[in-house]
């Protein structure tokens, strides 16, 4: 077994564990805002680890390029979906997403 295969298996294990932790977090948390943290983890770190495992074995082949494209799509779309979901949750909760007059949100 070469060092690439050993590293690929380690990265694969990390990716799967991260995905399962994200699923557990989504299952256990109570509010949508808490759940979004774990859903964000699932679309960012897990796919990167699994893509790195595939690239270690496949290098730059058709499968490797497709895995890069797939991971890039997940990494870009993940934060967009997270933001859109949080915005929709807030609109459904308060009627609009802008800060309310009685909310004391400090500007950074």
């Amino acid at each position: 077994m070469t060092w690439q295969e050993i590293a690929a298996i380690a990265l694969l294990a990390i990716g799967v564990v991260l995905e399962l932790l994200a699923c557990l977090g989504v299952l256990v948390m109570n509010t949508v805002y808490d759940r979004l943290h774990y859903a964000g983890l699932a679309s960012l770190l897990g796919p990167i680890a699994i893509a790195a495992a595939v690239l270690l074995v496949e290098a730059v082949s058709m499968a490797g390029i497709q895995m890069i494209l797939l991971t890039a799509t997940l990494v870009v779309s993940g934060p967009i979906i997270t933001h859109a979901t949080a915005r929709t949750a807030r609109v459904r909760q308060l009627g609009r997403w802008e800060p309310q007059p009685d909310e004391h949100i400090e500007e950074v």
Partner: protein, 83 residues
């Protein structure tokens, strides 16, 4: 059974967690679970493609990776207007 197929098998309980949230949680929470299930399905196809050495599954995964967020955005837009 190679490590890729074993990893694909290990990811399957994640769908169960998404299913429980879809079954029990409120509407906006189900969108989070739906999107997570889409990410899991994308990774499942990628792992199966590598495990079976069949690049066709990579194309399925790529299509799913593009269409799942698009579908979620449409669904969220609908939910935002349906207050």
């Amino acid at each position: 059974m190679n490590p890729w197929l074993f990893a694909a098998l290990a990811l399957l309980p994640g769908f169960l967690a998404c299913g429980v949230v879809l079954w029990r949680a409120t509407l906006i929470n189900t969108v989070v679970a739906l999107n997570l299930a889409g990410v899991l399905a994308t990774l499942e196809f990628a792992l199966l493609a590598e495990g079976f050495q069949n690049t066709t599954f990579f194309e399925l995964a790529l299509v799913l990776a593009v269409l799942t967020p698009a579908g979620s955005l449409v669904f969220l837009r609908f939910l935002e207007r349906w207050v």
